[in-house]
Symmetry: C2
Subunit: 381 residues, 2 copies
């Protein structure tokens, strides 16, 4: 039995990848801990309903599990440590902690030579004013803990904006970040096994809308081999520093042919969903291989791929399925503004045909208002 | 909810393909009727344990289902008809009946212009002696109902063999078939939607051992476009004659550049498992699209594929996963001689690299004794 903290769509896709890998003789099953009723992953395993800090629920998740993993990095590290006392937790609780604090994330990136935007820790209003002086404006203020999908962030455009940002976010540990021009957002999904063997998928290009991933292009168009090698070096170094086992994703900015570190997700990642159809082994399968101590699978791309998120509004399933080659993944969630309900992947060896089919898919995806904040939209993550 | 008669590996793979297609808002789930405890498909849906002719179990399967299908053609047609009185059964009960009787299968093939081996219905010992006279020896005697994977068959090599074949199989409706030389066994998997739109996968070559599918090569090496067109015409005609909805497979013999009909499976088929990784849309997904009234997906192959069945003995999972690009599917069944425990698929654009990896996989698959019956082994199906 494999226990998973979190039962959302990532858990569901882990289950879908893991069931065919199930151990002989009688199958290895999944168990998911999630506070929701009937979460997406309940389609592929047992669901323990409970809070991520409920010791009884945590113990039920761990009972009889061979290994426990998480699909969600906001699991309290104390919960992971509780489980780790009896069952291996992979990736380990240290990776969870590193990813839960934007400050330790930045320091981790810097420690392995991956540059980051200039930043300052901010705990007081005075810290924020000083950061504005030292880094210049505009700057982005982010909560150190718990922000995601563009939440827990504020943009300070001018000195008057400092008060507003403090009013919105003050009182929590914060980080101020210089807003530096960049060419595009990219990310790398990589995997490491218990013996330290690593593999990485091609760099991908990501485009966001309203702070939520909208589109991934894989491999990232025009990324030279040196950029790929640089990203792989950084990913391997980060994984080594954390003694990481499993799949992680590093979100990066590409600026003038160099990479800057943005965020670390110690789990399978939305920008890796294209690997289900577009790579020799999916990120989900490679995560399970890694945490199960099995040989990693090849990570090369089969062709060109594009992944479009279905966010907020119920998509027209039949119309999407009528686009030739569209692989439609629906998570079985009720629609709600800003909620990821599914995604569509297209894979094609011919980039022009891929572009035409991508246009057809995008025409069918219910429109979302453009955030209208120009370059800023790109740096929120 | 989609109800499935049968909860074996085909049901499991239907569930794996169907969960991502699940309807918005709250997900469409699967329910499987199977007499076994904890069958493979219970990993991906609800399991109703019961016999295929148990009215209470059948009614439990159908309750609330939008559509019911089967993964197993030995479901009693009366059971399918019982369900069809309240819920659409796709493919319809008529397809089930046609496939349950080797005589009606032959006549169906002949009716659409697909030639078959010379045959005679055999109900008495005298019928069998007359068939031997008229068709010549050797001939194969098969039960009309219920044989599969080489079971329920006997080879008559010489006049003395007639008694033995009768002793083994007599008393049931039988069919005697001329043993005609052929070049190889091929099969075509095709799909038809409720509006009569059809699509077909490339012809594949199948090799058997002990009457059980051992290896599928997709597309069938060297098959000319005319052969593909001929197979597609026959498949479309058979599906039209049955007003078929869903996926079926026709097993064929290729002899001197022509096709002979062998068997019909009114369901997803072992010789179509390669489509999970090797085709733009898997047979499982296209079956669900068809029975759900959704647009069919493209059926073209991505590259060259080979599928190896894992039969009888527990395979070395880690060793198989170490073969680059090997997609390992284990069904979670206990090992037993002659039992299909899983399969491995390899896909590669380069046929030579594929051959090398196939050799690596086959070296890891526990050996099975060669049936040692020469050409006969090939015609058993």
């Amino acid at each position: 039995m494999i226990g998973v903290l979190g039962g959302g769509q990532l858990g569901q896709m882990l289950g879908l990848a893991g069931i065919p890998l199930a151990g002989i003789p009688l199958g290895e099953r999944f168990r998911f801990l999630d506070p929701a009723g009937d979460p997406p992953a309940s389609a592929v395993g047992e669901h323990v309903r409970g809070a991520f800090d409920d010791p009884v629920a945590l113990d039920r998740l761990a009972a009889g599990a061979r290994v426990v993993t998480y699909e969600f990095e906001r699991v309290p590290a104390a919960s992971a440590r509780r489980i780790a006392a009896t069952v291996p937790v992979r990736p380990g609780p240290a990776a969870l902690e590193a990813a839960q604090d934007r400050l330790s994330e930045k320091r981790l990136f810097e420690s392995v030579g991956l540059p980051v935007h200039a930043y300052r820790p901010v705990d007081t209003r005075e810290d924020l004013a000083r950061a504005a002086d030292e880094l210049g404006l505009p700057l982005v203020v982010k909560v150190r803990h718990g922000g995601y999908d563009g939440k827990g962030q504020a943009l300070v455009r001018d000195p008057d904006g400092i008060e507003a940002a403090w009013a919105a976010l003050g009182g929590r540990p914060l980080l101020a970040e210089a807003l530096v021009a960049f060419d595009r957002e990219v990310s790398i999904v990589a995997v490491r096994d218990p013996g330290g063997v690593t593999a990485a998928y091609p760099l991908v290009e990501n485009r966001h809308r309203d702070g939520i991933l909208d589109l991934t292009l894989a491999p990232a168009p025009g990324a030279p081999p040196e950029l790929q090698a640089e990203a792989e070096r950084h990913a391997a170094a980060v994984m080594g520093a954390l003694d990481f086992v499993g799949v992680l994703c590093i979100e990066l900015f590409e600026a003038g042919g160099r990479l800057l570190g943005n965020e670390l997700a110690p789990r399978v990642h939305n920008s890796g969903h294209w690997t289900i159809e577009g790579a020799r082994t999916s990120q989900f399968e490679n995560h399970l291989r890694a945490i199960g101590g099995l040989p990693l699978g090849p990570t090369d791309a089969i062709g060109h791929a594009a992944m479009v998120n279905l966010v907020g509004d119920e998509p027209d399933r039949a119309a999407l399925l009528a686009v030739p080659g569209a692989a439609v993944h629906l998570y079985g969630k009720a629609s709600r503004p800003g909620r990821k309900l599914g995604h569509v992947t297209l894979v094609d060896e011919d980039p022009e045909r891929l572009a035409a089919r991508l246009a057809a898919v995008r025409a069918l995806v219910p429109g979302r208002p453009d955030p209208g904040v120009g370059a800023f939209a790109g740096s929120v993550g």
